[in-house]
């Protein structure tokens, strides 16, 4: 049935988080958990909850994201009504500087005006949750809030997350800077719901004042004036913001702790890879393996993306191997992250440590 929420995926605050991987793609397009890209999780969560119009506001390097999303077909978002919209970033007329997420929203104001949904839900791409947006909206309405922010227990001691401080009745009284301190009980899940009218009013006001950022320029300064409410999310949360968090969150998947098993289905671009072949002598344990791989050697506690080849007597341990990488005969890869199409030549050894996994760049031959 018709859905009251307009989906907004705001990539405009995810700049340069993770340069080892985001040199040639934006964070939302980073491959994760064997066959997905980060944005698939937020998009899947939106569409499985019936949100049928999603706007993605980009920062830069959005070409690989456009390639991945295509016409939106895989997410059933190739609609004539609603569907998927990817917006290029707002740059200064001379193209020199990015102007902030508020400018992004303001530049594409028409998109919001034209859409029929009375509420907006705004998320990013690198904080993975299974938040029930409908329940959050019901909560928002029943509390009579102006704005509702999602929060979760601060269990992960995540240095990227923003602590959130709650007053009486879950009213938000403070939003901290990124970083963890033992005093912080709750963390912000980077999810915002408010009415579209309020959203547009706030964006108009703030851009006319020259503000840049929705959270820091608009919501935080007005916590006393607006009724900003907290919505307690109790499900799993995975935050990807650095090589180490990428590595650790990936390894959590192998301990069955990841978020991927909490979705009935996760939608992504389909590549039509055949099933994975295990050859004679293969030895694979504690591994998450995508389709199209060919495994003759040994794989332990690792993630193989689509089309990876592990040749005879090769060994892959505690590692993440992205699509179409090839580990030749007798090579060893340990505590490493191999980007796409890396070739590890016969007999080579790549070895990082668990605290400092080695990253091998796209299309490198080692």
């Amino acid at each position: 049935m018709t859905n009251d929420l307009l989906g907004v995926i705001n990539l405009g605050t995810e700049e340069g988080l993770f340069p080892e991987f985001t040199g040639h793609r934006n964070l939302a397009a980073v491959p994760f958990s064997g066959r997905y890209r980060l944005i698939d999780f937020t998009l899947t969560n939106m569409i499985t909850q019936g949100i049928n119009q999603v706007g993605i506001f980009t920062l830069d390097k959005y070409r690989s994201l456009m390639d991945h999303l295509g016409s939106g077909k895989e997410w059933d978002l190739d609609r004539s009504q609603g569907g998927l919209h990817i917006f290029p970033p707002a740059l200064k007329p001379d193209g020199e500087a990015y102007l902030g997420d508020l400018a992004n929203f303001s530049m594409h104001r028409e998109h919001f005006v034209r859409s029929k949904q009375p509420y907006v839900v705004i998320t990013g791409s690198n904080v993975l949750t299974t938040i029930d947006f409908q329940d959050m909206l019901d909560h928002h309405k029943s509390m009579g809030a102006d704005i509702t922010l999602g929060y979760a227990a601060h269990e992960q001691k995540c240095g990227y997350c923003r602590p959130i401080r709650l007053g009486e009745n879950d009213r938000v009284v403070g939003i901290g800077e990124r970083g963890y301190s033992p005093d912080d009980e709750y963390t912000y899940t980077e999810t915002i719901i408010m009415s579209k009218n309020l959203f547009l009013r706030l964006v108009d006001e703030a851009t006319s004042k020259g503000e840049y950022d929705l959270l820091d320029g608009v919501i935080r300064p007005q916590l006393h004036r607006l009724h900003v409410h907290g919505y307690h999310y109790t499900g799993k949360m995975q935050v990807i913001h650095s090589v180490l968090s990428y590595y650790n969150e990936s390894m959590r998947l192998l301990r069955q702790e990841g978020i991927i098993y909490d979705f009935p289905h996760i939608y992504t671009k389909i590549k039509h890879e055949p099933p994975t072949r295990y050859l004679k002598g293969s030895k694979v344990n504690e591994a998450l393996v995508a389709n199209g791989c060919k495994i003759s050697g040994e794989v332990q506690n690792s993630i193989l993306f689509r089309g990876v080849v592990v040749s005879e007597h090769a060994r892959v341990k505690n590692s993440i191997i992205l699509s179409k990488s090839i580990i030749e005969e007798g090579a060893v890869v340990e505590n490493a992250i191999l980007d796409k199409e890396v070739v590890v030549k016969r007999g080579q050894v790549i070895r990082g440590t668990i605290d400092e996994p080695i990253v091998i760049g796209k299309r490198t031959t080692v």
């Binding site: 958990s33 064997g34 066959r35 077909k73 069955q256 991927i260 098993y261 289905h265 996760i266 939608y267 992504t268 389909i270 039509h272 055949p274 099933p275 994975t276 072949r277 295990y278 050859l279 004679k280 002598g281 293969s282 030895k283 694979v284 344990n285 504690e286 591994a287 998450l288 393996v289 995508a290 389709n291 199209g292 060919k294 794989v299 993630i303 193989l304």
Partner: protein, 384 residues
């Protein structure tokens, strides 16, 4: 919009010899190769040959097939002009009639084909596993200025009596067609793949429909009639893997073929992908004490036991201490702990409870039916 060639895929067959696997579904919907259904092969061939208009003729238990085909997105056939169309029998003012034969099924859909005003019509069936570029066959058809071209395979002479055999002159012109001849004069077997000039086929379908003695069948009526009429009928020699998977034994064998070191049938060619509907599963998870060798395994599986020389479709679970060997396990099957399976086809969503035994080394191929439940501790070696 005009199309040079329209494909018509006969998918109404019951596939009786596949027993429980086709009790509730048409044969073209039967699973194959860890990820596919039989119909994926002719459809992917079409996509890879640049054919964008495909009529699929259904009749027997089409619900699962219809659901699977959807709007044809998987094969890039979700189009406004042409694309995939499902063509079931229907009621006309003159009465309600089911399709009476392969030729009748096409005859009843003349107007569908006429809509695209094609030069050529390609007739396919949904019974075989093979990869073929139909555009090359069309090039041959044009080069020979043929009225009809029949795709043929050389088969071993001793197997020839099981096929429709074509006797040709040196330039591959077909002189004679014999259905299952006792003493074959050639070993060129018809693959049931035809290209017709649409004008010629149209005329012959109309003539055939008026012939009360006809069985309205391509092999029995249409092809012999085109030869009788002295038309230019040519044989197009196909080389490669081509396997009928119409029996339990042949279906099992064709799956086992994929497990060889260098499989005779290659699913892994990036320039000729086989398309199928994606079940949106997570990557497969191979557990701590699992052991997997010489196997083909699809997404969504979760293996805690031992899998040897087997094909596992998506979303299969194999519990600790279990052994699956020389078997085909179809989507959604659940295999508990300490189960032993040899030489079996476990159909979709079947459940094999803890400690059960299915099949035996060297035994006949055992089939566990869709949604069947084999209780804990049962020994199931052959269906009574």
């Amino acid at each position: 919009m005009k199309q040079e060639m329209v494909a018509m895929l006969l998918a109404g067959g019951e596939g009786k010899r596949l027993g429980p696997l086709t009790r509730k579904t048409a044969k073209p919907a039967v699973h194959f190769g860890g990820k596919y259904r039989i119909i994926d092969f002719p459809l992917s061939n079409c996509t890879n040959s640049g054919i964008t208009t495909v009529g699929v003729l259904t009749q027997y238990e089409p619900l699962e097939l219809n659901r699977y085909l959807g709007i044809g997105s998987a094969w890039d056939l979700d189009r406004r002009n042409g694309g995939l169309a499902i063509l079931p029998p229907y009621q006309a003012q003159s009465g309600k009639n089911w399709y009476e034969g392969t030729a009748n099924a096409i005859y009843r859909n003349l107007s569908y084909i006429d809509d695209y005003d094609p030069e050529y019509v390609l007739i396919l069936s949904g019974d075989h596993i093979y990869k073929m570029d139909y555009e090359k066959m069309l090039d041959f058809h044009k080069e020979k200025q043929a009225d009809v071209t029949i795709s043929v395979m050389e088969v071993p002479w001793d197997e020839a009596p099981r096929f429709g055999i074509l006797n040709t002159s040196d330039d591959l012109r077909i002189k004679e067609f014999e259905e299952k001849p006792e003493k074959p004069k050639s070993n060129l077997a018809s693959m049931g793949i035809y290209i017709f000039n649409w004008k010629v086929l149209r005329e012959h379908l109309i003539q055939d429909a008026e012939d009360e003695t006809s069985s309205f069948d391509f092999g029995k009526n249409i092809i012999p009639n085109t030869l009788l009429d002295g038309l230019d009928v040519f044989a197009y020699k196909f080389k490669g893997y081509w396997k009928d998977v119409g029996t339990i034994q042949s279906l099992w064998e064709a799956n086992m073929d994929l497990l060889e070191e260098d499989p005779p049938f290659d699913l892994y060619d990036p320039d000729f992908k086989i398309y199928s509907v994606n079940p949106n599963q997570t990557p497969q998870f191979i557990g701590k004490d699992a052991c997997v060798e010489q196997s083909v395994i699809n997404e969504g599986c979760r293996i805690e036991g031992e899998v040897q020389h087997s094909v596992l479709f998506y979303d299969v679970r194999v519990g600790e201490g279990s052994l699956v060997k020389d078997s085909v396990i179809m989507p959604g099957a659940r295999i508990g702990k300490d189960v032993t399976i040899h030489r079996a086809i476990v159909a979709s969503c079947a459940v094999i409870e803890d400690g059960a035994t299915v099949g035996e080394p060297g035994g006949e191929i055992v089939v566990i039916e869709p949604h069947e439940n084999i209780e804990s501790g049962t020994v199931f070696k052959q269906r009574a």
